[in-house]
Every structure is written in C-alpha cells, then in structure tokens.
Assembly symmetry: C2
Homo-oligomer: 248 residues x 2
C-alpha cells in the first residue's frame, strides 16, 4: 500500500562512502554530504565495523555508542528488513551505507530502498564515489550505452561462456560491459579476459580508483597481450570492455 | 602507438559538474575536486557558456579570459579532437567538463579520453554527481545488474518496439534498464512508458536529482496508472524500470 507522505516521517538518506581507507575524504565526499552524516543518528550499514570507522573519519560529533547501527547484508533474513525502517516513523532520518562506494548498487541495500518506497518514505540519494562511473568515465569506451553485469561465474567453463556472451552483447548493442571480481582473483581474471576476448576488443582495467595506486589503462586485447601489466593483487579493480562493432 | 608515460606530460582530469544551477555546489562537488578545477587553466568543455558559469561558481581565482576553453561536442569534426590534447604535451593538466554531471558518459567526451589513452596521457576521473547512479541508488530496483540505453527512438512505433525490447531484456537478464529523454518530452514519454510496459513492471521516475524539486518514486505500472503524478516538464528526469522476473 502506498501511504501519503508525512513530514513527521524521516527520510532514507543514501550515503556514499570512500572507496579507499585514505584519511582525507575531501576528494570523494562533498562537504554537505559529510554534514548530513554528522547529523544522523540512525544508520543501516552493510558492515558495522567498517561503518564505525567511516563515520568517525567523517567527523561525527557523537560517541559511536550513542548511534544506532543496524546491519543489512547477505545474511539478513528478508523478513527482518522492514523493521530497519522503524526509526523513520519516529521522525528520524536513516542513513544507508555500503562497505565502499554507493549504497544499493552491487550490494543488498536496494531491498531497503524498495521497502522505503512501498511505505511512502522519501528516499534521498547523496553524491559520492562510484567505482562504476569513475571507471566508465576514465575508460574512453562507449559512454552512451553501457551495462554492469556484476560478478561472472567462478567456474572456468561457465566464466568463459559468460564473457563471450557479454562480448557478443557489446558488439550487437554497441555497448560497454562492466564486470567486477574479488580483489584476490583479479590477476587470474585479467589473464582469463586476455585469453577469451577477441583481439580487436578494447579492454580497460581500472585499479584502486581514487586511491594512491590508481591506474587506469585501455588497450585492445592484442596490445594487452603484448605489454606487461602491473599487479592488481589486493586492489579493488573494475574491468570494462567494448567489442569492435560494425559501425567502427 | 603507446608512448611511455612522461611526468612532464599533463593529465586529463575528468571533472564532474553540478546537475542543477543552484549556487551552493557543496552538496555535489567534493572540496578537493573544486580545488583541482581552480588550479586548472586548460579546459575542454561541451559548451563554453555553461562551463564559464560553472568554473566561476566553483570559485576559480583567475579571470575567465585567462583560461583556455575549447569546445568538444557533437559538432566537433573527429580530426580536430587530437589537437585538444596539445596542452598536455606542454606540461599542462587539461580539465574535461560536460554540460551536467560526469564527462564522457552520455556525451562526446569519451572520444577525447580514448585519444588520451592512445597517446599515453594519464586519465584521472574525479568524483561528482551522476544522475544515473543517483537514480539507480534511489530506485530500489536491481542494483547488481543494470544497463543504460541512452535515448530511445523518437518515432512512436520504433519507440514502443525499443521499450518492449528493453523490458524483455530486463526480464531475461534480471537487470534494471535506464533511459533518458529531453526535458520537454518527459511527460509524453512517461505516458508512453505507462501505455507500453507490463502491469507488473516496476518503474522509477527520478526528477531534478540533487535539485530543489527532486522527486523519486518507484511503483508498478499498475500503481502508476492508478495514481496522479506531478509534472516533469522542464526538469531533467531519468526513467528506470525492471520487469518482474521468474525469480521474483
């Protein structure tokens, strides 16, 4: 049921957090967003430990013990999600935070946003770093059409099949494909990409975006095979590729 | 040919700009990004008039006449793009700016980024507002897989066909679809969406993101048909939808 908006009902504030653990947040969190975090007492977070560190880093004036932090992650039973919005009906704004970057994208936070819409709670997205957008901007690949496919299967044969399917889609739709992998598997994943994709496909690797080890390179698969690449191990990385289309 | 990086060569800085013309940029531009704009003298911009206004708003200390602003937009001949990078080889950083939001996404800036990679110029993406990410976060729709399709065809029959194709893709890939329209056509486009998509498809309309008239609502097509909606006319808007999948 859609309830009417009520000004005594709090908002759900979608709060991006830094992509790295650098102490200076001034390169990725706008000042007004930082202020909003500092004025909020009720948070729904992907990981309480990480969130406490970030909230402190952003200069929250209250002792952490006085803040209410509830976790929402892949272990949260779906039936428990609705109650996370209760503070809004007592007039409190609720801040939703992911472990890194923008909440509700590539994390379970979208379920909370969905419930907020169903209950007529205003949802307000705040500006901050998104590795997907930073990587896409920096790639020089097609930015008029793109798709984020998340993780690809771990099984070698299925992974190869999925990558070829995404490359085919890129060719047909003239669209950039974005995929991610867990940091410790990044180097192996790059090897698989170089073995699987067509020589003329352009691949961008974006490592440690906004961090001290940021490194963004776009080359054709042929060029990648001929050059050496620095290690990705331990760094967050994003992989983007675009197949050569008939139009090019 | 890939040239080796040279520290005397400037960088290409990808500078997001606000989505609205509100005087306070503190809700969307991080302080360090603002500083970088203020330290830059060479810009490549989609529209010189808009860019001058933004650069002034961000507090650039130099008179605008002392800055070098070159335009890159849909009228720029492809052969003229490479020369826009010349200042980098004199050791100057170059700032790339779109008319609104993040450069090189849904604008011609990606062509400059592509050339920069080819010439071995370091590309550094900066954090700022992206209507696509803000809208996706706030939609509560699937954030693990999504695709941006840009504009759909203007012709009524082709438009309907394309929307049904995207809805089909959303169903098969369990993926959120993002589309945009020019502001003056937004109300008519919403009507077409409500007439074309399936009753169980969830549609999000995100109007004037980060602005005073921000309004983000997600409903099923059935619910949209039964409710009244405020006007979208004159506001930038983003439309996102997700078909009910077999998994739901």
């Amino acid at each position: 049921m859609i309830r009417l908006r009520d000004s005594r009902v709090g908002m759900l504030l979608l709060m991006p957090v830094p992509l790295t653990d650098l102490p200076d947040t001034g390169n990725c969190i706008p000042e007004n967003v930082r202020h909003l975090v500092c004025q909020t007492r009720h948070f729904v977070v992907e990981n309480a430990k990480t969130a406490r560190k970030i909230i402190k880093l952003l200069g929250h004036p209250l002792p952490l013990a006085q803040l209410q932090l509830s976790e929402l992650n892949e272990h949260t039973p779906p039936d428990n999600i609705e109650a996370l919005l209760d503070p809004a009906f007592d007039g409190h704004d609720i801040g939703l935070m992911s472990e890194a970057g923008c909440p509700a994208i590539a994390d379970p936070g979208a379920l909370l946003v969905k419930r907020a819409h169903e209950k007529g709670i205003r949802v307000r997205p705040l500006t901050g770093p998104s590795s997907l957008i930073l990587g896409l901007m920096a790639s020089g690949l097609e930015g008029q059409r793109f798709a984020f496919a998340g993780y690809v299967p771990a099984n070698a044969m299925e992974r190869r099949k999925r990558l070829l399917q995404l490359e085919q889609r890129s060719r047909h739709e003239d669209e950039t494909q974005l995929v991610i992998e867990t940091p410790y598997r990044n180097d192996a994943f790059l090897t698989t990409l170089l073995e699987t994709l067509s020589p003329s496909t352009r691949l961008c690797v974006a490592r440690d975006l906004t961090g001290h080890n940021e490194w963004v390179i776009t080359r054709t698969i042929t060029e990648w095979r001929q050059s050496s690449s620095p290690s990705l191990k331990g760094f967050p990385a994003l992989f983007l590729f675009q197949a050569a289309s008939h139009r090019q």
